[in-house]
Amino acid sequence: MSEESVIAALRALAAQDREREVPEAVEDRLLQAFRRRQTNRRWRNGLGWSLAAAAALTIFFVAGSHERPKLVAPAPIPRRSVTSVPAPAEVATAPAPKQTRPVRRQPIEQPIEQPIERPIEQQRETVTQFFPLLDVAPPFERGELVRVMVPASTMRKVGLPVNQDHLADPVYADVLVGQEGLARAIRFVSYEQ
């Protein structure tokens, strides 16, 4: 059998299959997946911008406060811009945040008077993995880690389990802000005594 005959036989097979297509149900399933993806993207972009705004506000207030020590960590690996965390008393008296809210604290030099509990600095910090906030992030050159306080419901939105009764509880989060000011990723922080 010559090569031409083989090619002709293959053409016959191709012609027979030409009209074969995927059942319509596949298109429906794919469109559902596409819509879910778009919904998730919109939510993540919204969260990203909210956190970026919170981080930018934090940086703005911290940088504008001359009497306070510089709060940007000098470490070569991006670390928290706001190196401090609030004293427990401050957390206890603060109004319950409804939106993402940057956390500020007393300068390190200032003694904390009559702490109700052991300072958070002395507690063991546990962090989650980072959850990306951008689908396609621009190249990363440098960034800062900014600690903010967000409602616990934010954790649920990145897939972490949260009890229904605690959705409004404030939790600490570290937001990685890139050199362009975009919030790239978020991780959540908890403290153990």
Binding site: M1, S2, A8, A12, A14, V22, R29, L30, Q38
Partner: protein, 190 residues
Amino acid sequence: MIATDTALLEQALAGAEDAFTALYRRRQGGVYRFALQMTGSSALAEDVTQEAFLALILHGTRYDQARGTVASFLYGIARNLVLRRIDRRPWAEMEITEECAGPEDLLEDLTRRESIEHVRQAVLSLPPVFREVIVLCDLQDSSYEEAAAALECPIGTVRSRLSRGRAMLARKLRGAAGCAGRSIECPKSL
């Protein structure tokens, strides 16, 4: 003006559902037939097509226009999915039976459809590296460049595999026909 695949993909990745639908309707047939001709199973081909376009939704940003067309990108995804499934399937399911069974005048009685199915089985019996170039270049009418991009190999490799694949196919078809003492003719309608 008809939008290019690349433009449709960009719009789809930006969230345009109609662009995704248009791209899907334009390319699903090719991807489905590629998977069908590689596996011989319409159910597997359906799965592969769905997963290939899901991968496009999730990882479409990895497409690089400099490395090939959107069709090649899709064929590449489908190919990887197919190869994973082929590995899991028992070969006996796809192997062509090269023994001469049935009546002596088997070939005489073959209808056009049976002849074509015989060719399909011969294609399915080829080793995957040869089968994929035969399917892409001879059955899907992809260019050597497109096939090379989908298979992530040089064009020269595509050419040599195609040549060897056709030769293997000729031997298989000749061997099967020889059993009945005749050669397999191309369907007359061609």
